[in-house]
């Protein structure tokens, strides 16, 4: 396997503009097989635009994105088939039942869903008893579990998770972390965006911090903390004398509240 194929996602010189506003200015990073990669940044830093470009929801102004070896611009369907996506917002037809949604997306991704397999999939997210329940009737946590199931139903090489634990209770959050770790153990890559530094520290193998449309730091959580431990901007925002990932994040991106 050559170096190209160790990366399930490669982003090179990515630029995304909205009119005259440059949301993403020359971003480059890669996600390896069997890795959970965190993309962190304050509001408006360029995370969502970067993710949207990878998902194919916005057309980049420059740069190249490759998913599992497929260029998103020239082989969009193949690239999208190789990735699973969990979007931030609720995103399935509220009138359809869980099993109907699973069948729909199974069909779209070319996965045959037998009755037994359906049962197995729903048991995996502890929703077997609610198979006939409409999506609109589920709780936020249940909807997130369905959404993650759909994102991984075709066992994609790359899974994109956009702030997946927002609004979840601690039990649901832990359950989601375990699912992410299972994906990693299967040798697939995860690109995670989150505002929770605790989450990033707990599950991410590597982290990129993005601000004002550019990546300002990229490394393992431990290495980032170690590297910036004595940085005056980081030390000045630390609490209780211990440097955390959150201190590094605020030290690098500033304390000002973003819109």
């Amino acid at each position: 396997m050559d170096i190209q194929h160790q990366y399930v996602l490669q982003v090179a010189d990515l630029q995304v503009h909205y009119g005259h506003f440059q949301a993403v200015k020359t971003v480059a990073f890669g996600v390896r097989s069997g890795e959970i990669f965190g993309l962190l940044g304050p509001n408006g830093a360029g995370k969502t635009s970067t993710l949207s470009a990878i998902e194919g929801l916005v057309r980049p102004n420059a740069g190249q994105i490759t998913v599992a070896g497929y260029n998103i611009a020239t082989h969009a369907l193949q690239a999208r088939a190789a990735m699973g996506v969990q979007l931030q917002a609720t995103s399935f037809q509220a009138e359809l039942t869980i099993s109907e949604i699973v069948r729909l997306y199974g069909g779209i991704y070319g996965v045959t869903i037998s009755t037994g397999y359906m049962q197995q999939l729903l048991e995996g997210i502890e929703l077997a008893a609610a198979a006939g329940k409409r999506y609109g009737q589920l709780s936020g946590g249940q909807q997130q579990r369905v959404s993650l199931l759909i994102a991984t139903i075709h066992q994609p090489q790359l899974v994109l998770l956009d702030e997946p634990t927002t609004g979840l209770d601690p039990q649901s959050r832990r359950h989601l972390w375990q699912r992410m770790e299972q994906i990693r153990e299967q040798g697939n890559g995860v690109l995670l965006t989150t505002h929770s530094m605790e989450e990033a520290e707990a599950v991410c193998d590597r982290i990129a911090i993005i601000d004002h449309g550019s990546i300002i730091a990229i490394d393992t959580p431990e290495a980032l903390i170690e590297k910036h431990r004595h940085d005056p901007a980081v030390v000045s925002v630390s609490r209780k004398g211990k440097i955390t990932l959150e201190d590094v994040f605020i030290g690098l991106t500033g304390s000002a509240i973003r819109a």
Partner: protein
């Protein structure tokens, strides 16, 4: 590892199944859409001899088409866009035209159903019958006429993002079409308004429906109305598709 991408026909079949299921679960609103033309046929029972079967049928079908195109289609598109249903489908290996294509097929099926129900209502309440060829041609003209209203619905969701604004705009246009259309067509609002209504989307659709039912009376004006129907559809659909945004944000 190479991923299996299903054939477009397979994807479309799954989308259609989901969209028809959604339509079935929302059947109450469709029954309301259906009730208006059937009530018109019922209440006009005693006037059929005066106004003619073709007028009654074409008016009832037109009203059903207006309701589907202006009330059903844009509201469902605006609501699903707001929820992010389209964005979720767009990140899957699905050709984008198939997402909307499936929605439109469901609406065309609804148009067919409305037309058949109006036939049944006309026969049951008013004992109206037309020639077998008239029934067949009217189905085609109803599909063409439905396309005009669907394209107006597309124009509305293309120009307006907010689902509440889409809903209120669609209601307003629906009201204008129905009230001004029927009253103007009957000549109550004067000759000039009647002329205007005749060449509006409401008037041209009604003309091709009436022409289809009694094809012996199909004349130059009906052909012009057919051309105007196609023209309106192309213009509204082109603007609506070009301006359409998949996300409400």
């Amino acid at each position: 590892m190479q991923k299996n991408i299903p054939k477009t026909a397979t994807v479309l079949a799954f989308l259609l199944q989901a969209d028809f299921t959604t339509q079935w679960r929302n059947r109450r609103s469709f029954i309301l859409v259906l009730l208006v033309p059937v009530i018109i046929l019922f209440t006009w029972k005693s006037a059929i001899d005066k106004i003619g079967a073709a007028f009654a049928f074409s008016t009832a079908i037109s009203i059903g088409l207006v309701a589907i195109g202006l009330m059903g289609y844009p509201n469902s598109i605006a609501r699903d866009r707001e929820k992010g249903v389209f964005q979720r489908l767009r990140v899957a290996p699905v050709p984008r035209w198939s997402i909307m294509g499936s929605r439109l097929v469901v609406q065309l099926a609804m148009i067919l159903l409305v037309t058949l129900c109006v036939y049944a209502g006309g026969y049951y309440f008013d004992h109206i019958t037309i020639s077998p060829a008239g029934y067949v041609i009217t189905i085609f003209t109803a599909l063409l006429g439905g396309a005009v209203y669907l394209s107006i619905g597309q124009l509305i969701v293309g120009l307006i993002k907010n689902p509440e604004t889409v809903n209120s705009t669609a209601r307003l246009i629906y009201f204008l079409f129905i009230m001004v259309g029927i009253l103007g067509d009957l000549g109550v609002l004067g000759v000039q308004i009647k002329q205007l209504i005749n060449w509006s989307p409401y008037g041209v659709v009604k003309a091709i429906l009436a022409g289809g039912m009694d094809h012996a009376k199909w004349n130059k004006d009906t052909t012009m109305a057919l051309a105007a129907t196609l023209g309106y559809t192309m213009v509204f659909a082109t603007i609506g598709i070009r301006k359409f945004k998949w996300s409400a944000k």
